[in-house]
């Protein structure tokens, strides 16, 4: 199946969001493929959490993962016509002796809309893309000190996998 033909647009209606977050009235959120014009907005909130964020890096990310590719996906989430978050993922085959699986490489949410369920919706859309690509496992890699992100992915049902990451200073 060629995934470029799958429309990666998910509308999440306020009624559904309100069932999840009864404390807060949520605006309609729209999840769609990223376009180049979104990068400027992504950089503004990525820069707050990542000192290395820069335009060249994001142009390269977009060139690699954007534009309807069959194994890569770069999604953004819009609320009130503003970019509220993004997720980038890729299906990778047979690396480290693993069956093909989906990798989530980056996930970010604008600080003022955190805890509104944006990351959950982006993650769900990415998992749907992976499922349609025929993979049955999703993976990510995080710093041990990044407890907020670890907690988020664990809340989505992710657990430690069968691989251990090793490294050495050279």
């Amino acid at each position: 199946m060629h995934l470029a033909s799958i429309p990666c647009v998910v509308r999440v209606l306020p009624e559904i969001m309100n069932q999840i977050h009864s404390q807060k009235v949520q605006p309609e959120i729209l999840i769609r493929n990223a376009v180049e014009m979104d990068l400027a907005a992504i950089m503004t909130f990525d820069a707050r959490s990542n000192k290395d964020a820069n335009p060249r890096y994001w142009q390269e990310m977009f060139a690699r993962y954007g534009n309807d590719k069959s194994k890569q996906l770069f999604l953004v989430c819009e609320t009130r016509e503003e970019i509220a978050g993004f997720i980038i993922g890729e299906v990778r085959d047979w690396e480290f002796g693993s069956h093909p699986c989906g990798w989530v490489f980056a996930l970010g949410v604008r600080p003022d809309v955190r805890l509104d369920g944006i990351a959950t919706q982006l993650y769900a859309a990415m998992c749907e893309f992976f499922k349609q690509a025929g993979v049955t496992t999703v993976r990510t890699m995080l710093a041990r000190q990044d407890i907020d992100s670890l907690s988020f992915f664990r809340s989505q049902g992710m657990m430690a996998g069968p691989y251990v990451q090793l490294e050495k200073d050279l």
């Binding site: 041990r144 000190q145 907690s151 809340s155």
Partner: protein, 136 residues
């Protein structure tokens, strides 16, 4: 990692009461379910109440209910009420005045300790409830 009996009882009580979604359970209910001493459990429950994870009500029909924030309280938060979470003596990667053997061992044990802490700090009560719903 071997948890002390009090720590395990604390985890059982918090998770059982969080599962009840605001409902009340008596100490006897919890002790029966896990087949543990009610006296030991009562001491554990007092610690959890003091930490404001539980609220106790007295009298007929009284009991305990979970009042913590399930999305924020982690396994680490509960465990640390009862015991330190680290490999004793290896809290730091570099030990002062260590022999070569101790220094080598410190690196390995520090890695284990750090992974254990990251795991316990990132699993919330809410995540545990989801895992329990799925059957572990």
């Amino acid at each position: 990692m071997k948890l002390q009996q009090s720590t395990l009882l604390g985890l059982y009580a918090v998770l059982e009461l969080a599962k009840a979604e605001g409902g009340q359970l008596s100490a006897a209910d919890i002790a029966d379910k896990f087949n543990v001493s009610i006296n030991h459990l009562a001491k554990v429950l007092r610690i959890l109440v003091k930490a404001r994870l539980l609220q106790a009500s007295r009298g007929v029909g009284g009991g305990y209910r979970f009042t913590g924030n399930a999305k924020r309280i982690t396994l680490m938060d509960v465990i640390e009420l009862f015991e330190p979470v680290s490999i004793e003596g290896f809290e730091d990667r570099e030990l002062p005045q260590a022999t070569d053997v101790e220094a080598g061992l410190a690196v390995a044990l520090f890695e284990i300790s750090e992974m254990m802490q990251a795991t316990l700090q990132s699993i919330t009560v809410r995540t545990m409830l989801k895992m329990m719903e799925k059957g572990g």
